[in-house]
Symmetry: C2
Subunit: 367 residues, 2 copies
């Protein structure tokens, strides 16, 4: 585009209220023929968007303005194994609560919903989420559109996390990066040449199903020895329960009042923080396995940044330190040097925020 | 773009001689308001391009027209370990020979050179190719431009192979696919959303450096236990030499006149075709290892097609059968169903042909 075309476009965005003049450039910097430049910013007050993130253990929601600033948030823990109808009711109730704050915004233009597992964004259907029992072919768009009466966008939760990092986080302006989502499951979102990668059928990013041991235990996906069977929040909890039963950690037993079945990866992180050797060992083994799978992804994709997010990352350094060292060891020299490892600073509502922005993108691009 | 804009653009391409009318649509098909449509094709006679492909064991060259049809080809085996200057002289001599046929074309507009290892296409420099001793920071563009006086494009050989499959082969029109290049080394090219994937620094596609055994033997890249140390043409030859010395294959010993050091992966393929159990076992083990690494790449990238090329693929079915079954076993269900495995039909000059087309693309896009 030539200068004239850009100028016409910017004038249009300003008069539509999508852009706003946020100030003048510093004296001396970015001056054009001696004059200070007007600085432009996205006008958050123009419109607002709701993002809802469903995980295996939580439902998170945000009401966010067009610039990505959060006006209201909601966070609920969910017990794995709840009936699908009840989960959907919870999601709709959170959406309604966020919508009740619409008066403080430029108007809610769309709702975005992200879920784990396979999605079909064009059809608005969540196909399957192995970590949510019974969750199959859930017609998210239909259900939410009739309940809320706004356009509804759908995406994979790890891709929504990547979008959040791209617009609000550590990967602003980057064209090639990987966002790793380490939680109850393990997912990955990535940008390639500035575009959110989806693959041929919206199924890309299944790093959690990297086969790390072809003779390993069965995975929820149907294969054997996937990364998720040894290193996800779910796998860490399973191994911790086995350890409690085998008497390998007095601390974990005490933290769970002896109810081995109820132990979570958060309990393991807590125990590791209290120097429990068994718990520390579990997290280190998980970190090593993730680091190796991630190194292989980095060798294929040559990202400039890998950003780590999800519940397991905020759970202390035993896991992330082991991850970082195995990632460095197994990444090809020459690719390693090009790459920076970062930890997300966006917190637990990163995917919900990213999903709100993807919903906005859908409105403005007509997707 | 609207219909009018497309029509103006097509008229321009027709009058420039880049497009040509190749016929009329079949009666009944693609008719617009009852009239048969003019079919358009790229006009090969418009211009020509040279593609040169340097491998660890060969130099291949093609003179190709704008439509990708080959006018002349050249193929030379190269012994691993030749001095860099001699390799470059060989490449220039092949280029000159192809250029001598220019009179039969619309004129050679550019030369494309592809090499293994890391490249910097914008600078025109081949940074390093671990499988070619001494090959470092070779200023391909400068060297060829001064020798030949035409614009010179540079890319990675596996990406050139992917481009050939995209324009001429099994992946025509596909937006998301993987092209696996199985030769002396193991490389991968891929398209994501219709764009040739490069990563942040042109280093993507290093599937050969997937770590398959962190405690494995040293790799030329500096790491340990990379896929290339167990499954490349180089690794197969190394294991075959060990087998000959250990007396594990009389046939291989006889085929190489007892000179274990001289055995190649082609010898192993030949012996496997003659039912040599040791050779068959080597190729099957290599196929299984490649299949697992490839499954992990497929889980990340969700391609619609994986196309196999390179010298090892044309070497019989022991390797490709084992590859296909390990790929199917380790790919996540749901992603496996979306994917088709194909074998390249483009032959040994696939990368050279792809490189000629990438050089053409560079000329027309001004890259």
């Amino acid at each position: 585009m030539d200068k004239k075309a850009v100028s016409v476009m910017v004038d249009g965005l300003l008069s539509d209220g999508i852009l706003t003049v946020s100030g003048l450039s510093h004296p001396g910097s970015e001056a054009v023929r001696g004059r200070r430049c007007e600085l432009l910013a996205i006008n958050g007050d123009h419109s607002a968007f709701i993002g809802i993130d469903l995980g295996a253990t939580h439902v998170t929601g945000v009401l966010s303005d067009l610039a990505g600033a959060v006006i209201e948030r909601a966070y609920f823990e969910v017990r794995p194994g709840l009936p699908v109808e009840l989960i959907l009711d919870q999601m709709k109730s959170i959406t309604a609560r966020l919508l009740s704050r619409e008066g403080e915004t430029g108007g809610v233009r769309a709702v975005g919903v992200c879920v784990p597992g396979f999605v079909h964004p064009a059809a608005g259907v969540s196909l399957v989420a192995e970590n949510i029992p019974g969750w199959r072919d859930v017609r998210i768009r239909e259900i939410f559109q009739s309940a809320i009466g706004r356009p509804v966008a759908l995406e994979d939760a790890s891709r929504a996390f990547a979008a959040a990092e791209r617009w609000l986080g550590r990967c602003r302006g980057l064209r090639d990066f990987i966002a790793l989502d380490l939680g109850y499951g393990i997912g990955m979102g990535m940008y390639a040449a500035g575009v959110l990668h989806t693959g041929s059928a919206w199924k890309s990013g299944e790093i959690g199903h990297t086969v790390v041991d072809p003779d390993g235990i069965p995975c929820a996906c149907g294969n054997h020895g996937c990364l998720e069977t040894v290193a996800s929040g779910r796998a860490i909890a399973r191994q911790a329960a086995e350890g409690i039963r085998a008497g390998r950690s007095v601390l974990l037993r005490d933290l769970t009042h002896g109810d081995a079945q109820s132990v979570t990866a958060q309990d393991v992180a807590l125990a590791a923080g209290m120097n429990d050797a068994f718990s520390t060992g579990l997290l280190q083994a998980a970190g090593r396995a993730v680091g190796l799978a991630l190194a292989n992804a980095v060798n294929l994709l040559n990202p400039s940044v890998v950003v780590l997010g999800g519940g397991l990352v905020s759970a202390g350094s035993a896991l992330t330190d082991a991850l970082a060292s195995s990632l460095a060891r197994c990444t090809m020299p020459g690719i390693r040097e090009d790459m920076r490892l970062e930890v997300s600073q966006l917190g637990p509502d990163a995917s919900a925020r990213g999903m709100a922005l993807l919903a906005a993108e859908g409105v403005f691009t007509g997707a």
